[in-house]
């Protein structure tokens, strides 16, 4: 797999994040400046861009609100279920396409079209088909998260090193042995890279669907409601909660990847 341009992003990233001081200093200065400018009304309309103090106050208020828990856990639930469906479907379909080349060639136009399609346009369709509840959001999360796992499974299992394959075959390895001893181990790093991207995509899908539907419960729904009421301090605090969630998910998957597929290089592949 060394023909795919290796990206050693994690170590690069870690080196930069490792230096905590400059970023914290930058944040502190920015927050203080923002808080000082805010009451003067200069440059910033407090209605549209609340001060850090106002956002913190909204956060405190939200912590005491009974509805925060159910909205938060609903979104986590939608992301988790959508993600699991996407990973299982992606692994199964990807393996199928890798093992049966004819199927892959026949499905080629549809795979490529689905890759090219901005899946977000399907949200209104899913709402019509699956209603305003959790189902439409789960389907959206799964549809968006499906592709990275699917594609990377297919690519990883199909494009194994030709020399290694020939060596195994000349040593009279069976197809099953080639599959379990060569194809799976060499595909796993790529598959896990796909799973990692899928986790982030599942989150995007869940929140986008909640936001667009603007009904039922969930963090996306809360943003939608608060922004209609122009309660921007609440909108900001929820966006911050989501940013923290996304960051934890992203770094968590990265750490997990280093442990699970420690022998592979990090590779990422897109297709929104």
């Amino acid at each position: 797999m060394d023909k795919i341009a290796p990206t050693r992003a994690p170590s690069f990233r870690r080196r930069l994040v490792g230096d905590f001081l400059p970023p914290l200093l930058f944040l502190a200065v920015a927050l203080v400046a923002w808080q000082l400018i805010a009451p003067t009304g200069w440059l910033i309309n407090p209605l549209l861009l609340p001060s850090p103090g106002a956002i913190a106050k909204a956060g405190w208020e939200l912590l005491g609100a009974a509805y925060l828990g159910e909205n938060f856990f609903r979104t986590v639930y939608v992301i988790a279920v959508g993600f699991v469906i996407a990973v299982v479907a992606g692994l199964v379909m990807g393996t199928l396409m890798a093992v049966v080349p004819l199927l892959r060639l026949v499905m080629y136009p549809y795979i490529i079209a689905f890759q090219a399609l901005p899946k977000i346009v399907l949200v209104p369709l899913f709402i019509v088909l699956f209603g305003f509840g959790a189902a439409a959001k789960i389907v959206t999360a799964a549809a968006i998260a499906f592709f990275p796992v699917f594609m990377n499974t297919m690519v990883g299992l199909s494009l194994v090193d030709a020399d290694q394959r020939r060596l195994m075959e000349s040593l009279t390895a069976s197809r099953w042995q080639v599959f379990t001893k060569l194809q799976i181990p060499s595909a796993l790093p790529l598959i896990f890279a796909g799973v990692k991207v899928s986790a982030t995509y599942a989150m995007t899908g869940a929140l986008a669907a909640e936001l667009i539907a603007g009904t039922d419960i969930g963090l996306g729904r809360l943003i939608s409601t608060f922004s209609f009421g122009l309660q921007m301090d609440f909108v900001f605090i929820i966006v911050i909660v989501i940013a923290v969630m996304a960051y934890l998910l992203f770094t968590g998957m990265e750490r997990l990847g280093e442990r699970v597929v420690f022998w592979g290089e990090d590779q990422e592949r897109g297709g929104g």
Binding site: P101, V106, P124, L125, V155, T200, L219, A246, G270
Partner: protein, 276 residues
């Protein structure tokens, strides 16, 4: 797939392959037609939520042939949003990427926040952007700018950082100065990564524009989908989803084609998957 050469027969003939592909499409449409308005496994699929394919095709025909002017007007707005945002986002991402590579101090200060913002689903700030920039085209351009910005920025930085050390050392031992090393070696070798970022950026710019149109807009294809949805003109909604999907696929292949022309030396093993 050389090892399986012996198993190749009539089934792997190119004509056969495309015939089967076409059959899959026909089968899918037939299934759709069959399922519409039918009760399957105790679940009634009402014609309102899944109109038969013929209704959608009729509406699509009307929209494209009879209401061409109206459709083009919507299409024009959406395309403007996507391309304006894509252009601005790419320029900003490239510019900031170069700046952050040039200045380690600024990089240390803001890189963690870039990682956080990049991993965050950009769609959630769409309501903020709409509150700031209004229901018009401006908020859509800003949203699609944000979509294109991060992939281009991250890939520019990664591409410029991960250059082959041997080449750098060779250039230096041949007494190349910093400017020459950058222009003749680092930047060209970062180009495939940067263009990958640009490719992803276009997709994200499009998603940004569509999301923002879904949430609140005056014109555009995405807004049209939402309007038909609210008016319960479901066949019309399906037709617009088909149109916007086609637009997405066309744009995707446009960039893919550009990529092959501009970054002609890229070795993409995925392309081997689709060869016989």
């Amino acid at each position: 797939m050389a090892a399986r050469g012996s198993r190749r027969g009539l089934l792997y003939h190119p004509g056969m392959r495309w015939t089967l592909s076409a059959l899959v499409f026909v089968g899918a449409v037939a299934l759709w037609h069959w399922a519409s308005g039918r009760t399957i496994l105790g679940l009634h699929i009402h014609e309102i939520i899944l109109p038969p394919p013929r209704d959608v095709a009729e509406v699509l025909w009307t929209l494209v042939v009879d209401d061409t002017g109206f459709l083009l007007e919507q299409l024009q707005v959406t395309l403007l949003e996507i391309f304006a945002g894509f252009g601005i986002g790419t320029a900003l991402g490239l510019g900031l990427g170069l700046l952050l590579i040039a200045s380690p101090l600024i990089r240390k200060m803001i890189y963690p926040y870039i990682v956080i913002l990049h991993s965050m689903p950009g769609v959630v700030i769409a309501p903020i952007i709409i509150a700031w920039f209004g229901f018009g085209i401006e908020s859509k351009i800003v949203q699609s700018t944000l979509g294109a910005f991060f992939p281009v920025l991250i890939n520019t930085m990664v591409g410029l950082t991960l250059v082959d050390e041997h080449g750098l050392r060779l250039m230096e031992s041949l007494t190349a100065n910093r400017r020459q090393v950058f222009l003749k070696y680092r930047f060209p070798s970062a180009l495939p990564a940067i263009f990958t970022g640009i490719r992803i950026g276009l997709t994200f710019a499009m998603i940004g524009a569509i999301i923002s149109e879904f949430l609140a807009a005056e014109t555009g294809l995405g807004q049209l989908i939402q309007r038909y949805h609210y008016e319960l003109k479901i066949p019309e909604m399906y037709a617009c989803i088909v149109l916007i999907s086609v637009l997405g696929i066309v744009l995707f292949f446009l960039v893919e084609w550009l990529d092959r022309k501009l970054i002609f030396w890229r070795d993409d093993p995925e392309r081997r998957l689709w060869q016989q």
